[in-house]
């Protein structure tokens, strides 16, 4: 049972969270003029990194999205923070 820390609620069990996306993925804008290939890349491609990973997670109970930095092998979490520009 991993413990993740929601920046808004505090430490909670992993079952309360859901992986949303790898951090840094930007929705191509304007989407309309984005090529099919670039759009598919945005939708489906992942780095799935070993070791350090920065990801967007959502705390299902409060509904807040936030970023988490963790090691995908040891599963140590080094940081959890609100999305850029968000206040707690």
């Amino acid at each position: 049972m991993q413990i993740f820390t929601c920046p808004f609620c505090g430490p909670r069990e992993e079952t309360e969270f859901h992986f949303a996306a790898e951090a840094g993925k930007r929705r191509p804008e304007p989407a309309e003029t984005t090529s099919d290939a670039d759009w598919a890349d945005y939708l489906y491609m992942n780095a799935a990194p070993r070791r350090p990973a920065r990801e967007v997670w959502v705390h299902l109970t409060c509904g807040e999205f936030f970023t988490m930095t963790r090691d995908t092998v040891t599963r140590e979490v080094s940081d959890a923070a609100p999305l850029p520009g968000r206040e707690r």
Binding site: M1, Y44, M45, N46, A48, P49, T72, V73
Partner: protein, 395 residues
């Protein structure tokens, strides 16, 4: 290759088993090959075998960072089946199943294919309707699929929960008679032995650290045992594939998750079919040794760590006991986790990618073991001819 048979076993028995040869040569890497397969799991070894057998390539190497069959090939619940919906998937998995059916003889290695049949069990009328949709699709694709009613399901699995408190009473489901289980390690060893006898070099403890690319063409790989040249490189390394592909600048639609498997203490035969319960997400079969081998969903946290956590264990085990309340007498003997490469549409990725000469076989998610012969067959076809096989084209 010394042939395996009852006769050779008897003869060796009389002379103290001194005559058995290594199942596969412990090869040291040569400086150059016609083709290199990265990953010594089932898919990689099968690829090498079919490269040699189907396409006559003789200078082939399999590079494995640890010991062969040590990844997901040796970490699954050994189910083989082709009860899928889309024609493309059915064609792929049924190719695998057909190859499995002849595999022991083909490889001269008993992979213990037990086609005891598999039931995907439904619990609501709506699930039964979906089961009908899939069973019909299987039939239209020429695969043995049938709808099974509750009575027959309970006859085949008499210990199923039929109490009044059952949360998910079995209504029947999809029955595939040809589905079953096979001995996972034997698949890896059998392919390794057969490939080795055709001249394939199987190099263990050799980690690939780099892909060599010159002018848009693959020219070889860098390893911790030095540089090895080849114009064709196939990646069949499951959860490690994204990292390797990234070396060639290739991104993949893959996320990696831990999938757990569980084994109970052995008991005398109590379950003669493979069972997947839609209501609980738990699947189970009984091994020839008598152990219940079971599993369920993925641990929901992306990871590269080969271990599982408690929440999914509780879900899978409670699901098993909900299906079979009498199994609560049993103890958990072993549990482990493998890292699976999951693609959004749950369809594998087979094809050329990035630089010329680089080929992929990944994204099997939780279905890699059952696909091994097909994955190898199709990747070998691609690597040898540079063109897709009819069955792998859609992927």
């Amino acid at each position: 290759m010394k042939r395996y048979s009852a006769l050779s076993l008897a003869a060796e028995g009389l002379r103290g088993h001194r005559g058995w040869k290594p199942a596969w040569r412990k090869a040291r890497p040569a400086p150059e090959y016609d083709a290199i397969v990265v990953g010594g799991g089932g898919h990689g070894l099968a690829t090498a075998y079919y490269l040699a057998r189907n396409h006559g390539l003789r200078r082939v190497a399999v590079l494995e960072k640890g010991w062969i069959g040590g990844g997901n090939t040796g970490r699954n619940t050994t189910v083989v089946r082709s009860n899928y919906f889309y024609p493309e998937s059915v064609a792929l998995y049924d190719l695998a199943l057909r190859l499995y059916e002849g595999l022991s003889k083909d490889l001269n290695f008993n992979v213990m294919l037990s086609q005891r049949g598999m039931l995907i069990a439904a619990h609501t009328p709506m699930q039964m309707e979906i089961c009908a949709r899939i069973a019909n699709a299987m039939q239209l694709n020429g695969v043995d699929g049938a709808l099974m009613g509750a009575e027959e399901a309970l006859r085949r699995a008499p210990l199923l929960n039929r109490g009044p408190g059952a949360r998910h009473a079995c209504m029947g489901g999809i029955w595939q008679p040809r589905a079953g289980i096979a001995r996972h390690d034997a698949v890896a060893w059998g392919y390794a032995r057969a490939a080795s006898s055709l001249g394939v070099d199987i190099v263990e403890n050799c980690a690939v650290t780099d892909l060599l690319i010159e002018a848009g063409r693959v020219t070889g790989v860098g390893t911790d045992q030095g540089t090895i040249r080849a114009a064709r490189v196939g990646l069949a390394s499951a959860g490690a594939t994204p990292g390797l592909a990234a070396l060639a600048g290739v991104r993949l639609p893959v996320l990696t998750y831990a999938l757990q498997a569980f084994v109970s203490e052995p008991v005398k035969p109590i379950l003669d079919t493979v069972l997947l319960y839609l209501g609980t997400g738990t699947y189970v079969s009984q091994s020839d040794k008598g152990e219940l081998v079971f599993g369920g969903g993925l641990d929901r946290v992306p990871t590269h760590g080969q271990r599982g956590n408690l929440p999914m264990q509780e879900t899978v085990l409670s699901g098993l006991l909900e299906m079979f309340p009498a199994f609560a007498q049993l103890k958990l003997l072993r549990q482990w986790g493998g890292v699976v490469d999951v693609v959004p549409d749950s369809s594998p990725v087979i094809g050329p990618t990035g630089p010329e000469g680089l080929f992929l076989n990944c994204g099997w998610g939780t279905g890699g073991f059952k696909a091994i012969p097909a994955g190898g067959w199709l990747l070998a076809h691609l690597m040898a001819t540079g063109r897709h096989h009819e069955i792998s084209r859609p992927f």
